[in-house]
Each structure stands twice: as C-alpha cells, then as structure tokens.
C-alpha cells in the first residue's frame, strides 16, 4: 500500500512538472528547435534581455500589481471591519453576495462586463479609446478585493471581543484600542490578503485582456501576443526566470510562516509559564 501511494505521488509530480522541466531545458537550447537539444547556450536569455517590449511589460505588471494590491488591501481591510460590525442581517447577506460575485463569475464575464461599462462611459464623454492603465487598475482592484476581505474577516471573527474592551477599560481611546489591539490581531490576515492580491494581479490574463488599452501591456498580455505567432525559445527563457522567482518566493513565504509559527509558539509558552508562575 505504501509503495503504491509513493508511485502514485511520483506519477502526479511527473505530470505536474514534466512540461515545466521541458521549458527549462529548451530555454538553454542553442538552436530554435523545440524537440531536439543541440547544445547549451544562453543565447535566448540574451535575446530576452534585449527585448525592450517584454522588459516594459514586466515593469508595467509590477506597477499595476503593487498599486492594485495596496489599494485593495486598504479598502478591503476597512470593508472587513465594517462588514464585521454590520448588525442588519439583510445588509450582511447582500454584502456577502456582492463580495462573492467576482469569485464565482468566470473571469471572461467579469472582464467583458467591466469593458462594456468602460466603453459605454467613454463614449458618453466622446473618448475614442476608453481603455487604459486606469481601467485596468480598477479591474484589478475589483477582482482582488473579495480575496482580501475573505482573508481579514475570519481573523476579526476569531478575535477575542474582550481584548479591545479591556484596552478601553484600561484607558485607551476606542481609536487607539482599534489601532493598538485589533490591527495587530488581524495583521496576519491583512498580510496574506496583500500577498494574494499581489499574486492574483501579477498572474491575471483574461480580465486584463478585456480591460487593457492598446498602449498598456502587462506580462501575461505580452506572453499572449508572443504566442500568437510562432514562438522563439525566448519565451522559454522568460518562463524559466518566472519559475525560479516563484520558487524563491514560495520557499521564502514557507520560511516566514515557519518563523511566525515558532514565534507564536514561543510567545504562548512564555505566557503559559507566566500563568503558572
């Protein structure tokens, strides 16, 4: 039984990683062939770094992802606090439904719906093209917001209600109690939300495709345009770099997770020790 599950795990991993491994190997291919490896070279990496359009797209993607992540995290955290305090059952249900819409709807519908509105409003003002960086930023904030809210809201619900009350009893103003007690309690949720928003924005193609103007190209859109024609292994070099960046980020976040877990454990032990003493 144990060997059977090992073999199964290995097969799944081969299925998941074989295509990526092939991209990696052929990015170092000397020739243009995608099936015969003729020799090792950094040729395609050099080509990639000479491609100003792709480099511009990388910069655009980062600018967009950072802006969208920051704005959606601030707005989403505030929204989670507001939703948490919402007493009216119907208002709460309405909020939950609206928040769920961008997550349930296929990306293509979210993209089309925003595009239709932008085009309509643009035409009202007589603009020839109404799609640009601003429309893309709006779209990205919109699809990131629900993920931020869903990360922060559970943390608010798990928080001990008596904590801010205790702070106020001890003379904190409500605002100070919120900033000094509630915010640190929900901080892990806020950080996870921020990271999620950032990666979602970085990775999005479908919604960006419908809401981007001609002038503004993100990396996924650049990849789409590159793969429209016959592709040079330049794109493989790009994929390889992305792979290693992701690997690095994931390992880093795992490390941070472990460290926070350890810190929490240590703090808890100290607290317990104090209680006993």
């Amino acid at each position: 039984m144990k060997t059977a599950s090992r073999i199964y795990t290995a097969l799944v991993m081969i299925f998941l990683f074989a295509p990526i491994a092939i991209l990696l190997v052929f990015s170092f291919n000397e020739s243009k062939s995608l099936s015969v490896f003729s020799g090792f070279s950094f040729h395609w990496y050099r080509e990639l770094f000479r491609d100003s359009e792709t480099l511009g797209a990388v910069r655009n993607t980062l600018v967009l992802a950072v802006s969208a992540a920051l704005i959606s995290t601030v707005m989403g955290t505030a929204a989670a606090v507001g939703i948490h305090k919402l007493k009216n059952r119907y208002l709460r249900a309405a909020m939950d439904t609206v928040t769920n819409i961008p997550m349930i709807n296929p990306d293509i519908i979210t993209g089309i719906s925003l595009m239709l509105m932008f085009v309509f409003v643009g035409r009202l003002f007589g603009a020839a093209t109404s799609l640009n960086f601003a429309t893309m930023l709006i779209a990205h904030i919109t699809f990131c917001l629900p993920y931020v809210i869903l990360q922060v809201l559970p943390k608010l619900q798990q928080m001990d209600k008596s904590l801010p009350e205790a702070a106020m009893d001890l003379g904190c103003t409500p605002m100070r109690a919120f900033l000094k007690v509630e915010i640190p309690e929900i901080l892990p949720g806020i950080v996870t939300g921020l990271i999620m928003a950032f990666t979602l924005s970085l990775d999005d193609f479908v919604i960006s495709y419908f809401t981007s103007g001609n002038g503004f190209q993100t990396l996924p859109i650049r990849i789409y345009n590159m793969t429209k024609k016959t592709v040079t292994p330049k794109m493989y070099a790009l994929a390889t770099i992305i792979f290693f960046v992701i690997l690095f980020l994931l390992l880093l976040s795992n490390l941070v997770d472990e460290e926070t877990a350890q810190a929490v454990r240590a703090a808890r032990e100290k607290k317990n020790a104090r209680k006993k003493g």
Partner: protein, 291 residues
C-alpha cells in the same frame, strides 16, 4: 465621555464600509447590468431580443488550418464547451481525490512539501503552462518522439479534443486537489476509527464516512475546475488549433470583431446558465448535508 468616543468609533467603523460599498456597486453590480443592457439592445441602443435569438439559431463558420469550413450553431458550441469541461472536471476529480487523501494521510512535513510542490505550477501563468503542452503534443514534439522511441509510432494529438482536455486537466488540476485536501486535513480521525470499530470495511468507511465529510471540498473543487474550463479560450486556441471553438472563443471572437452586443448576449446566457447550475449544486449539497 467614553460613550461619546465609542459612538464616534462606531461611526468610523460604519464609514469604513462606505468606500467598498460604493466600489462594489459601481464596479461589480453596474457592469453586470451593462451586460444585460448590451445583450438586449442593438447598435443604436434600441431594445431587441435579436442577439439572444441569434445564440440559439445563428451559425458561426470556422475555417481551420486545412481550409475546411465548419458550421456550428452557438448552442452547439456551448454544448461542446460543457462536454469538454465536464470530462476534464471528472478526470481531475478521479485523479485528484485519491491524491488529496494521500497528502492528508502523510506526515505534517511531507504534507507541507507536497502542497508547496502542487502550488508551484499553479503560480506559473496558465498561458505558459498551456503553451508548454502545445510544444509537447506537436506532431514533431517530445511526446511523439517518446512514442516512436518506444516503437509505438506517432499519433496525431494536437488539434484534437483530447489535447484540449489534457490542457484543461493540467491547468486546473491543483484547483481540485487543494480544496479537497484542506477539508480532509481537518477531518476527525476518530470518526474513521469509530466506523472501523463498529465493523465497517475499507470501502464502507470511504463511502459512508470519508466521502460525505469531504463533500464540501469536492464541491468547491468541482466549481473551481468547471467554471474556468467552460469559459476558457486560450487552451482551445492553442491545443485545439482553433478547431474546437468553445463558448469562450465565441465571446472573445465577437469582442475582437467589435460586435459588443452579441458578445454581451453570449456572456449573459453563459452567466444565467452557470447561475442556475450553481444554485442546483448548492441545493444538492445542502440536501446531502441534511441527510
């Protein structure tokens, strides 16, 4: 004094919701109304049901690489999208469910390593993942090279429905595993032990204990694979050579041709169908949970 201060805090907290409320109405609700508005109007924004009837009656002509023209009605295109998406979802479930179970049974360290490994391809852009399969499955690609090395001869797979299904399965496989795993990891082992103590055999435990408890994970996994598969357009373009025109291709094609009203109509119909499907699945889940 204190009451006044806490009153102002309550006000601040209520105001905290204001930007999001405005945002979600403006950029979530209103755009969906625009989909319906475009779907039911013509170019001069006069009311018409023509776009909707066109979906059920009109045909779209697809010219593939070899120059053969194929004629489809949009309804048929939708049925094909549904068929390929369901096949992909079932394959993901059949292979993903046991794998999620295996992970949940491993040691804590192995669990976190395996989950990280599954997430790496998920974080790579799906365009790149799909493109990788295109190079693998080509007639002169690695897959065929491998087959002929084994003496099995070459097969033509790119541009077939199988290639599209392979792409969908590969792209969305992690989305099936992760939600099922997260439910299984939280499952109370005592329940399984109790079932065994009461004389249930392996299959019985699976059918009566593990499967019903993991159902919420299965449902969210199925939605997370089915919805993107049904609405994709890149996978069918690259792996189906544009021959397997799916509903996503239809929307994208109308968008690029600047037929915004018909694109909106297709999107509107897709949205309504998915909404009903989802409501049905939710009711099914609730009923099962009640039993």
């Amino acid at each position: 004094m204190k009451r006044k201060a806490s009153g102002s805090l309550a006000l601040v907290q209520r105001l905290a919701l204001a930007p999001y409320s405005a945002w979600s109405v403006l950029f979530i609700v209103v755009p969906l109304i625009f989909v319906a508005y475009y779907a039911f109007t013509d170019l001069q924004f006069h009311f018409t049901t023509e776009n909707i009837t066109r979906f059920f009656t009109a045909t779209s002509v697809v010219t593939d690489e070899s120059g053969t023209r194929e004629v489809h009605t949009y309804l048929l295109i939708f049925m094909r999208s549904l068929k390929l998406a369901v096949i992909s979802t079932v394959i993901c479930l059949i292979f993903g469910y046991p794998f999620a179970y295996l992970i949940s049974k491993a040691s804590e360290r192995t669990q976190s390593i395996l989950i990280t490994l599954i997430m790496i391809p998920m974080w790579m852009n799906f365009l790149i993942r799909t493109y990788a399969w295109m190079t693998i499955l080509q007639d002169t690609g690695i897959f065929n090279g491998f087959l002929s090395l084994l003496g099995l001869g070459r097969i033509h797979i790119i541009g077939t429905e199988s290639a599209v299904v392979i792409g969908m399965v590969y792209d969305y496989f992690p989305y099936m595993i992760l939600p099922i795993y997260s439910v299984m990891a939280k499952m109370d082992v005592k329940l399984i032990e109790a079932a065994r103590d009461l004389g249930c055999n392996g299959a019985g435990v699976l059918r009566r204990v593990i499967w019903p408890l993991s159902l919420p994970g299965v449902i969210s996994g199925v939605t997370m694979v089915l919805i993107p598969s049904i609405s994709t357009f890149y996978i069918s373009q690259k792996l189906g050579n544009g021959k397997f025109y799916l509903i996503g291709d239809a929307i994208e094609g109308q968008y690029t041709a600047n037929n915004l009203h018909f694109a909106a109509a297709i999107a509107f119909i897709l949205m309504v169908i998915l909404l009903f499907g989802m409501a049905f699945m939710q009711r099914f889940a609730n009923k099962r949970a009640a039993v």
